[in-house]
């Protein structure tokens, strides 16, 4: 197991080298001069030239890459061109906001998705099955933008039940411990902030959860259907086990591998930030930051973020693989090395 993990982490090095080169080149191949974008249409040509020199953009690409990697090895991701703040700092704060939203969205989507999928598969071709699968289809195809704004309009403006944006009510004091508001408020015993932030999470998390929820529901249904026709399910039933025990202990457990894969993949994607949801709900997350940085051609910021995503994807995939070991006894025997 330890060998497996260390091998995967060793691969990470090569992935990072590849990603860094790719991002470095792609950024410079897309048109747009960062210096010009930084100063905007009101700057004098001399100002633009001065900024370009200051950012080192007047040097050759190999030299720029050499400097970039050299600093990276020292743990320095560079300084954001727009804000003059180290990229690592910028990324980390926003990442925590994204993590909070993603975890809650994944909890919602996994719970509802799996439940809907299980019931659909058990009551195959029933009204519930049709309804939930149509809902799942709608969930995948519904524009997030529209859904978010509609939820916001109904729940916040019209009925006034839920707060419409942000992580907590403006002006409340958040005593930062770990950076996750829910966790911090619990740790510092601030129940008002805890419930406040929880309420603030509902709309954005639900909006963000719709697509993964739909995917998980469909995956659960098909995976369950496959398992339900297996011999050991018939055996379990013949043994006289209760219906619930057959479904949850025998069927769902065996159907879980593809579901976990889908959940892991989606979680990884969400951790990269959800631009639309973050934009609609004014959530200060990573997705918005990457897009803003990209449109400003903030090279160090984009490079930093993409490298960060690469690490996250590898780690999440690794976590899923480790989960496989626990879920599937066969892997524990075959895959010892």
């Amino acid at each position: 197991m330890a060998k497996f993990i260390s091998r995967r982490l060793f691969h990470l090095i090569f992935i990072l080298i590849g990603v860094s080169i790719l991002v470095f080149l792609m950024l410079r191949l897309i048109p747009g001069d960062p210096a010009h974008l930084l100063v905007g249409e009101f700057a004098s040509p001399a100002d633009v030239a001065r900024i370009r020199e200051k950012l080192g953009l007047d040097r050759s690409y190999p030299y720029q890459y050499y400097i970039y990697v050299k600093n990276l090895l020292k743990g320095d991701m560079g300084v954001s061109v727009r804000s003059n703040v180290p990229v690592s700092q910028e990324v980390f704060v926003r990442f925590l906001a994204t993590v909070e939203l993603s975890i809650v969205a994944m909890l919602i989507s996994s719970f509802i998705g799996i439940m809907a999928g299980v019931i659909s598969s058990v009551r195959k071709y029933s009204i519930f099955d049709y309804c939930s699968m149509v809902m799942a289809l709608a969930g995948i195809s519904m524009p997030i933008f529209w859904l978010g704004l509609m939820l916001m309009y109904l729940f916040s403006v019209k009925w006034g039940i839920l707060p419409m944006m942000g992580r907590y009510t403006m002006g409340l004091d958040h005593h930062v411990i770990a950076g996750l508001v829910i966790l911090d408020s619990l740790l510092s015993g601030d129940l008002q902030l805890f419930f406040n932030s929880l309420k603030h999470l509902i709309l954005p998390a639900f909006t963000l959860a719709t697509i993964p929820m739909a995917i998980i529901a469909r995956m659960t249904r098909s995976s369950m259907l496959e398992v339900m026709s297996k011999d050991y399910i018939r055996t379990a039933r013949a043994k006289g086990l209760s219906y619930g025990a057959v479904i949850f202990r025998h069927a769902l457990k065996n159907a879980f591998l593809p579901i976990i894969t889908v959940i892991g993949l989606n979680f990884g994607l969400l951790l990269g930030g959800a631009v639309l949801t973050e934009t609609i709900f004014s959530w200060p997350g990573l997705g918005r930051y990457v897009v803003d940085s990209l449109s400003a051609r903030d090279y160090p910021a984009v490079q930093g973020c993409i490298l960060f995503f690469a690490v996250i994807m590898v780690v999440v995939n690794l976590a899923v693989d480790i989960l496989y070991f626990y879920l599937d006894p066969r892997l524990r025997i075959d895959g010892k090395g």
């Binding site: 700057a43 004098s44 804000s83 703040v85 926003r94 916040s156 944006m165 942000g166 930051y289």
Partner: protein, 530 residues
């Protein structure tokens, strides 16, 4: 009997009305006396980039920063005229090179250190002097618009400071009123170094408290502020990037002010009695630059024909929904020296065709029309505008092909003069005509990479705008600018399209909400009903 009853009913009715009026009166009277306290929540399109305004180029940074930092001089509350802020008075030497400012006494920065001539020297020198120890702490983006012309800052005594320019430069005071020339606490700059932009320490009516990136900035009242202290306890600037969400936040009461709303939302806000709206002509211009170095377009008659072909009224009505005025001069009427005697080229297909025939193009010609890829206040829907212009040109026989590039590339290529015609605009920050006329239309700025993207060179115009820089008498400067606008009108290097209207929509509980033509105001005087 019947009459009597009616009479009684009438009396009852009248006394009821009177009572109602009486009951309403106190709240009406109360509403006019400022209430102290409360938090102003301010929804806007994005987060600030830096609060060290000498480094700022974006509106969101400036909006927040000017609550905290102050300048030597500042624009008046609702106009673009300059008045003293941290200076009390100033004078210019006879040769026009040395500006001496007397400073306000007894002012303290938010960190408790005193404001004096040295603070001015440090705040300015860090921007213009490469050898200054604080120079490396910032990225100074627009020195040319702000302190660029200043060559030396000299402390005469604790409360007198002198600025020397290389050449006489009349717009200097207007430059100093710009956000680009704030006075910060030297002790704070030394303490925070590169981080000064995240920890601004000035002398303004509000103190900086906290900044949560991409989310909110919190400011609180400076209780030591000289003179009129702010009424509000706090200001929270909240970034709400999505425009519909921003308007919903205003509707639900989550924010008190919502900036940069779209015409649809403004329309809805107008019919809602919970909101108040201020409209003011802005200090910008959206224009269609005609590259005078291209063979066909070098012909003045062709450029005049294009001017006749474009229907600006319709652009104002359809693209701006009325929130703009058609432009006839290169700068807006809200800035002094505007030549109102000029009669714009009227929209006339006939006249345009006639001029084209006279120029030798009775059947028109093919041409490229470059459309901006981003929307700005002066050009909210560039592509639609380009399509409209394309249709207008087609009507007179000119076949325009719309060309689009990504924004950075667009700026780069137009600065090099690769376009035939292109759309762009300008926001005259310091509200000085020089900013438009010299900056965008002089031959000094017509060499690639150029700001004069019409690449228009006119000797008489050049002389007028250059002379105007060295004349300190406003009446005389005005005369020079009036004439310069006549030449511009005759030669048509641009088709000036519109000056947009700036709108502020806010909750009716707020009072004394100001709005300068550039949209940048201190919120010191605002108060909020309980």
């Amino acid at each position: 009997m019947e009459i009597e009853r009616r009479e009684i009913m009438k009396r009852v009715y009248i006394s009821f009305l009177l009572l109602a009026a009486l009951l309403m009166m106190p709240s009406f009277i109360l509403a006019q006396t400022p209430v102290k306290g409360g938090t102003l929540t301010w929804g806007r399109g994005g987060d600030s980039v830096t609060l060290d305004l000498a480094q700022a180029t974006d509106g969101e940074s400036i909006k927040a920063g000017i609550q905290v930092l102050e300048n030597l001089v500042i624009f008046k509350k609702d106009t673009m005229d300059v008045e003293p802020q941290l200076a009390t008075s100033w004078e210019v030497s006879k040769d026009g090179l040395v500006w001496t400012f007397k400073l306000r006494k007894g002012v303290k920065f938010h960190d408790g250190t005193p404001f004096n001539a040295n603070a001015v020297k440090v705040s300015f020198e860090r921007v213009i002097d490469k050898n200054h120890p604080f120079y490396k702490y910032g990225t100074w983006r627009y020195p040319a618009l702000g302190l660029g012309p200043v060559k030396e800052v000299k402390v005469i005594d604790d409360y007198t400071v002198a600025l020397r320019t290389e050449k006489p430069y009349a717009p200097l005071v207007a430059n100093l009123a710009l956000w680009l020339c704030p006075i910060l606490s030297p002790a704070a700059i030394e303490k925070y170094k590169e981080d000064i932009g995240r920890n601004p320490v000035g002398t303004g009516p509000f103190k900086f408290v906290k900044w949560i990136k991409d989310d909110q900035i919190i400011l609180e009242r400076n209780d030591d502020y000289r003179g009129q202290k702010p009424h509000l306890d706090r200001i929270i600037l909240k970034a709400i990037p999505e425009v519909s969400a921003r308007f919903m936040a205003l509707q639900s009461g989550a924010v008190d002010i919502a900036d940069d709303l779209d015409p649809d939302s403004i329309e809805m806000a107008k019919s809602n009695t919970n909101f108040k709206i201020i409209e003011r002509p802005s200090v910008n211009v959206g224009y269609l630059a005609v590259n005078t170095k291209k063979p066909i377009l070098s012909n003045k008659l062709v450029r005049q024909a294009i001017s006749h072909a474009v229907d600006k009224q319709t652009i104002v009505k359809t693209i701006f929904r009325g929130l703009a005025i058609p432009a006839k001069n290169p700068y807006p009427p809200s800035i002094w020296g505007y030549n109102n005697k000029i009669v714009d080229y009227d929209y006339s297909v006939q006249k345009a065709k006639g001029l084209l025939a006279k120029a030798g193009y009775p059947n028109g010609f093919d041409i490229e029309l470059w459309a901006m890829p981003v929307s700005r206040a002066y050009m909210p829907e560039p592509v639609k505008t380009a399509e409209l212009i394309q249709a207008y040109l087609a009507a007179v026989g000119i076949n325009a092909k719309i060309v689009r590039y990504e924004w950075g590339v667009y700026l780069d290529k137009t600065a090099k003069g690769e376009h035939d015609m292109c759309m762009l605009g300008w926001l005259g920050g310091n509200a000085d005509p020089d900013n438009f006329l010299y900056g965008l239309l002089s031959s000094d700025n017509a060499k690639p990479p150029a700001a004069n993207i019409a690449f228009w060179e006119n000797a008489e115009f050049d002389k007028l705008v250059k002379d105007a820089q060295t004349v300190f008498d406003k009446a005389k400067r005005t005369q020079l600018y009036l004439r310069a606008q006549e030449i511009f009108h005759e030669e048509v290097p641009w088709v000036p399209l519109v000056h947009s209207t700036i709108v502020r929509v806010y909750n009716k509980k707020l009072h004394d909400v100001p709005l300068r033509p550039n949209g940048l105001n201190s919120f010191q005087m605002i108060w909020k009903e309980k």
